[in-house]
Amino acid sequence: MRTRITRLYRFSASHRLHTARLSEDENIRLYGKCNNPFGHGHNYVLEVTAEGPVDPESGLVLRVPELDNLVRDRVLRSFEDRNINLDVPQFRQLVPTTENIAKVISDLLHEHWGIYVSGVSRLVRVHVQETDRNGFEIWVRPEAASVDIQSEREKVAV
C-alpha cells in the first residue's frame, strides 16, 4: 500500500507564446491566438503530489503547512498576477507554454524541497492546468531531475 498527498494551488498570470526562432507568420500558424502580441491571461491551477510513508505518530506523509510555505515562497510569489514572459526570469529565453511552466515549477520545487519539507516524503508529480480543458503533468522519478511530460491538451473538462 502506498500513500500520496496532493495539494492544489491557484495563480493568475499572463503570457504570450512566441519564439524568436520562427518568423512572424510561422509563430501565428504555430501558436494561433496564443501569439497575440499583447499576451493574454489564465487562471492556472497547480497540483503538487508527494509520496512517502505515513509517520506512525503524526499520521502524516508531510506537513501541509511546510508544503504551502515552499509553494508560496518559490512559485506563487514569482507567478501570481505576473506577466510570465517579462516578470519570471526563467522565461526570458523560454516560451511559456504550460509544458515549460510545469517543468520550471517542478525544478523549483525539487531544488528547494529539502529546505522546506521535513521528513522523507518526495515530490512525485506536478500538474498544471491552464484552463479546465488543458492540463499538463510531470512525473518526477526517484533518481531526481529526470521527468516525464504528459500532455493532456484538449482533454474533456473535469
Binding site: M1, T3, R4, I5, T6, S58, G59, V61, V64
Partner: protein, 140 residues
C-alpha cells in the same frame, strides 16, 4: 480496466498530538490542530480494477459498490466527530492520510473477489487537498 465510484460524507475532526505544545501542533497540522475541532465535506473515490464479465459486461455491480460504500463509510462517518465516534480514530489521529487508509481497510475487507480488486482510494478533505492510497505495484 478501472471503475470508480464516488461518495460524500461530512464530518468533524481534529488533528492534535497531546504530547506536543500548541505551537508544535500548529507547525505540524496547521489550523487543523484547533482543540475544539472543525469539519469538512469529504469526497471519497474508490477505484476497482478488473475485466468485464463476458456475460454481464460489468467489472462489478455498481449497485453493490455503492451499497458497500454506504455501509462501510458513509453511514458510520457521515455527520460524526471522527475522533469521538468512529474507530480507530479514538486511538489514531484522523489526518487525511489515516482516514484514507481506514477507507482502504474497510473497503478491501468487502471486496474479496479476485476479479474485481480494490486499486485506489482517493479522499478529498477539501477541493484543494486529497490523499491517495494505492495498491503496491500500481503504476504512476
Amino acid at each position: 480496466m478501472f471503475i470508480t465510484r464516488k461518495a460524500e460524507f461530512s464530518a468533524s475532526h481534529l488533528c492534535r498530538l497531546p504530547s506536543l505544545s500548541d505551537d508544535e501542533n500548529q507547525r505540524l497540522f496547521g489550523t487543523g490542530a484547533n482543540p475544539n475541532g472543525h469539519g469538512h465535506n469529504y469526497v471519497v473515490e474508490v477505484t476497482v480494477e478488473g475485466q468485464p464479465n463476458p456475460m454481464t459486461g460489468m467489472i462489478m455491480d455498481l449497485k453493490e459498490l455503492k451499497q458497500i460504500l454506504e455501509e462501510e463509510i458513509v453511514e458510520p462517518m457521515d455527520h460524526r466527530f471522527l475522533n469521538h465516534e468512529v474507530e480507530p480514530f479514538d486511538r489514531i489521529i484522523p489526518t487525511t492520510e489515516n482516514v484514507a487508509a481506514e477507507v482502504w481497510r474497510r473497503m478491501e475487507q468487502r471486496l474479496q473477489n479476485p476479479g474485481a480488486r480494490l486499486f485506489r482510494v482517493r479522499l478529498f478533505e477539501t477541493p484543494d487537498l486529497y490523499v491517495e492510497v494505492l495498491r503496491d505495484g500500481a503504476g504512476s
